[in-house]
């Protein structure tokens, strides 16, 4: 088993990390204490393990850690600015867009990638983009509302 050093910009900090070739990205971030990224289906279907690799959403359960070499990785832990929540995080709270919360980190990261690429999506675009993220609790409607709220502060509840 090979080991190598990779350079990753992880949640805004440059890190040099020594990893074994077969280690998955989810294993790497969780081993660093970033356990907000969740494992569920392990087959790239549920989206619970979604992180952003160079700004694009990927399933970290099926991405090798070495693929992150020289790239940026964002996890849920990097989203808030200190105690100031990201608009998506606040919108998820305001809209009750989670229950158990297990899918939420992946859900929010996928939504962030959408809003970074398309700041003003409509409901159909949100549904289409988020198709790769499963939630078993909410029935999805409140998540769509939260993402639309985050995109348009004027929509937000008083």
């Amino acid at each position: 088993m090979g080991r190598r050093e990779i350079k990753v910009r992880l949640n805004g900090t440059d890190r040099r990390l020594e990893v074994e070739d077969q280690v998955l990205l989810i294993e790497l971030v969780r081993s660093l204490g970033l356990v907000g990224t969740k494992l569920s289906c392990d087959t790239e279907v549920c989206g619970a393990c979604t992180v952003l690799l160079d700004g694009r959403p990927v399933s970290s359960c099926t991405t090798l850690a070495i693929e992150a070499d020289g790239r940026t990785v964002e996890t849920i832990e990097g989203l808030a600015d200190g105690t100031r929540l990201h608009p998506l995080q606040q919108a998820f709270i305001d809209r009750f867009a989670f229950q158990c919360g297990y899918c939420t980190p992946g859900m929010i990261m996928a939504a962030k990638a959408l809003l970074d690429e398309r700041p003003d999506p409509d409901a159909a675009a949100v549904r289409h983009w988020m198709e790769g993220n499963l939630c078993r609790c909410t029935g999805y409607q409140t998540i769509v509302e939260a993402v639309l709220d985050a995109a348009d502060p004027a929509r937000r509840l008083p």
Partner: protein, 759 residues
């Protein structure tokens, strides 16, 4: 007159909100402790076989391996390696024989998960195959292979165990509900509808797979797990290791979805055994595939007939249910009883006969899943109302209204009267859906009233601190339903505080007060009452302290919003506490509810299901598209309306999964779709364009401020509602769920063929 509230009745933000949106929330699967080892489970590759020999030397010698554990080891150590809350027949790992493909047989414990997995591949198990049976009807036939030659010990828990005797063959449990002269009624009835109905095996897919972390601390067993019912798991573990309840501590931090699938013991016994034999903290994390081999829901085959007068009044109903309950008892006796109680619906029925048989088969053990028993029976009971309406030429909503029970009327003899107004609920549902429908959309709806299986033993404690803030202790587990928020609201309401001044601690048997379970939609109603009692007790203590401080009779001390009035002075709780102690201090209030007073009559509440859909069917492909989903949450009083909406939306979407897509499929002896690729759950694209979540608040529940439980009702009726709407669209009612495109397409073709034949 309606009470006025400050905090109850508001959609207060979730108290776990920030933790869950920042990734800070810790689930059992996220936990680790120094020196932790890992266990991998070797599972059976046979459905029914005797274990002849287990070759484990190679595995034991593999790098990093600490111990390889078999069922014989558990027996040799003098442990009680069986669990189960009704019948203790479920071995921690197989002992002597295996009863389903995927059953745990050997535990391999190693320093790392990878080393354990590599060693697990080296374990060889030699089997002597036995004939197997995976179909429930075949399992009941004469000559079928018997799964349990000897029955496990009955646990004798009043709330769980009907004390059944004389069960033979593969009968796991038998339930019967009967009154009136059914045979005579059918003989005389002018109109009879009959049919056979099938409800699939389901997997709840809580997204956090089963996991546990176990260790011994000075001989006390400590287990962190994804369990819903920490106190039930504590009892099972205490029995396994011969420990007193005080020596077992079960902790469920945040739980990644439950829906009943995490009720009762799952993998905690395996993790604890591994810790026992290695002396190390041991972590067991299931993959989703392993979780699917751990628990599923009971599938059902139902023969039903219903007799009506010509003007649509029910004369009699007759149901025969066979449930496929898998290899072990687990919760199937309760599910079976509930299926029997819930299949016939909340109607006036002069003569009724229900017989329901829960059956052992060589398949994954079945246990609880949202609404247990109710969705299975509801499809038969409600579809027959629709089929009868068609035959009688009576509108299907009108037919239901003619037969439906009114508030206070008796659904089951000797039980609590109906604490809901189903007629009004049904009317608002029908109106939301635009019943009877126009244009291409076809409408279907259904009702149910489920006897909440919530034995009302519950306690709570509240500590008032010297600054007047409080900490609430509850044994109820936060599964996502929002119990920490709702119970905090109840405490804030009772003590006159803002939510910011209420902290809550839950899910740790070593710390919090006893709670029987977190299931059957009980928490708001039953635990909520215990919280109210704890707050009253704390207020009483504060009055006593105030009386002592001022040297006045207790009776002269009055409650204020958040403190007391004594000697003409108003003091907050904190001021009374500080004056009494001199410095610091606190007051502890304890609350308990039991099967007495408001909960003397079971069930503690009837959980109402009232939901429906408007849908279209693609006549070329059989694909069903849900255009509108509507639910009526008849919850008495919504302590947090947004959370009630969340329960109704989540439950009905889960129900739509079962109605249209979800089904565990056995081919031969093996479950062939034990992954989330082939077992398809609802996605964003399945969200109906229009969702209407209606609340009915009539303060008719036994919980705080007239509240009743929520969370299962909407899913109980949705399967039948979808089948009913499809039936109206294509002219023939599907009797089997899920209504997959292929099944719907075949129904359309057979209906066309029948029409041609007649033509």
């Amino acid at each position: 007159m309606t009470e006025r509230h400050r905090v109850a009745g508001t959609s207060a933000p979730r108290v776990d909100g920030i933790a869950k949106v920042t990734g800070a929330a810790r689930y059992a699967i996220d936990l680790s402790v120094p020196g932790m080892a890992h266990v991998i489970v070797v599972r059976s590759t046979r459905a029914h076989a005797r274990i002849k020999r287990i070759e484990r030397d190679a595995a034991a010698a593999s790098p990093g391996v600490l111990r390889v554990i078999t069922g014989d080891d558990l027996l040799a150590a003098g442990l009680t390696p069986y669990y189960g809350h009704v019948v203790a027949d479920h071995p921690v790992v197989a002992i002597g024989k295996v009863r389903y493909h995927g059953e745990p047989v050997v535990l391999v414990v190693a320093e790392s998960r990878r080393e354990a997995a590599e060693a697990a591949d080296l374990v060889e198990i030699e089997y002597e195959e036995l004939p197997s049976v995976t179909d429930a009807s075949e399992a009941l036939a004469p000559g079928a292979p018997i799964l349990h030659e000897e029955r496990g010990a009955r646990v004798g828990d009043e709330g769980m165990d009907g004390g059944e005797a004389g069960l033979a063959g593969n009968v796991c449990s038998f339930a019967q509900v009967e009154w009136g002269d059914v045979d005579e009624a059918f003989k005389r009835a002018p109109v009879v509808v009959e049919g056979e109905y099938r409800f699939p095996m389901l997997y709840g897919y809580a997204m956090e797979p089963y996991n546990a972390l176990a260790f011994f601390d000075q001989g006390d067993l400590v287990v962190y797990s994804s369990a819903q019912h920490v106190y039930m798991v504590r009892r099972d573990l205490a029995r396994m290791f011969g420990l007193t309840l005080a020596r077992v501590r079960v902790i469920a931090p945040y739980v990644g979805g439950g829906y009943g699938t995490k009720s009762y013991t799952k993998v905690e016994g395996m993790a604890a055994m591994a810790a026992y034999f290695t002396g190390r903290p041991v972590k067991l994390d299931c993959s989703v595939e392993e979780a699917m081999l751990t628990t599923r829901s009971d599938s059902a085959f139902i023969r039903a007939r219903s007799a009506f007068t010509r003007d649509g009044m029910l004369l009699a109903r007759d149901f025969e249910i066979v449930m496929n309950s898998g290899a072990y008892t687990d919760n199937s006796p309760l599910v079976n009883q509930k299926a029997a109680n819930r299949c016939f619906g909340p109607y006036k029925i002069p003569a009724l006969r229900v017989r329901s048989t829960s059956t052992f088969t060589n398949t994954v053990p079945a246990s609880s899943l949202r609404g247990f028993g109710a969705p299975q029976g509801n499809i038969a009971g409600e579809l027959q109302m629709d089929e009868a309406a068609l035959r009688l030429g009576i509108d299907a909503v009108e037919l239901r209204l003619r037969n439906i029970l009114g508030p206070g009327e008796e659904l089951l003899p000797g039980k609590r009267g109906l604490d809901a107004d189903l007629k009004e609920d049904l009317r608002s549902l029908a109106s939301s859906l635009g019943w009877p429908g126009a244009g291409p959309g076809s409408v279907g709806l259904g009702v149910s009233a489920s006897d909440a299986g919530a034995y009302p033993t519950s306690t709570a404690a509240v500590r008032i601190h010297s600054d007047g803030s409080v900490t609430l202790f509850t044994g109820s587990t936060e599964l996502g339903q929002g119990s920490r928020t709702v119970l905090s609201q109840v405490a804030a309401e009772e003590l006159g505080l803002t939510l910011e001044n209420v902290a809550i601690v839950g899910g740790d048997t070593g710390v919090v007060t006893y709670e029987r379970t977190t299931g059957a939609s009980r928490t708001t109603t039953v635990t909520g009452r215990a919280v109210q009692e704890a707050c009253k007790d704390a207020r009483r203590r504060v009055r006593e302290l105030a009386a002592q401080v001022f040297g006045v009779p207790v009776a002269s001390v009055e409650d204020t919003v958040a403190g007391v009035r004594v000697n003409g002075q108003e003091l907050g709780y904190g001021a009374v506490i500080e004056r009494w102690f001199g410095v610091g201090g606190e007051v502890l209030g304890h609350g308990a509810v039991r099967k007495a007073d408001g909960f003397a009559r079971m069930p503690p509440f009837w959980e109402i299901g009232c939901s429906g859909v408007r849908l279209t069917v693609d006549r070329e492909t059989g694909v069903v598209e849900i255009e509108k989903l509507a639910t009526v949450g008849d919850v008495g009083f919504a302590i947090n309306p947004a959370l009630v909406h969340g329960q109704d939306a989540g439950a009905s979407m889960m129900g739509l999964g079962a109605a249209l897509h979800e089904e565990l499929i056995y081919e031969g002896e093996q479950l062939v779709n034990s992954n989330v690729v082939d077992y398809r759950v609802p996605r964003f694209s399945d969200l109906p364009k229009d969702v209407d979540l209606i609340l009915a608040e009539r303060r008719d529940g036994a919980g705080p401020y007239g509240a009743k439980g929520s969370g299962e009702g909407a899913s109980n009726t949705i399967g039948g509602a979808v089948a009913s709407a499809i039936g109206r669209a294509i002219g023939v009612f599907p009797h089997q769920l899920p209504a997959t495109p292929e099944r719907v397409w075949r129904l359309m073709r057979s209906a066309e063929a029948a029409t041609k034949h007649r033509g």
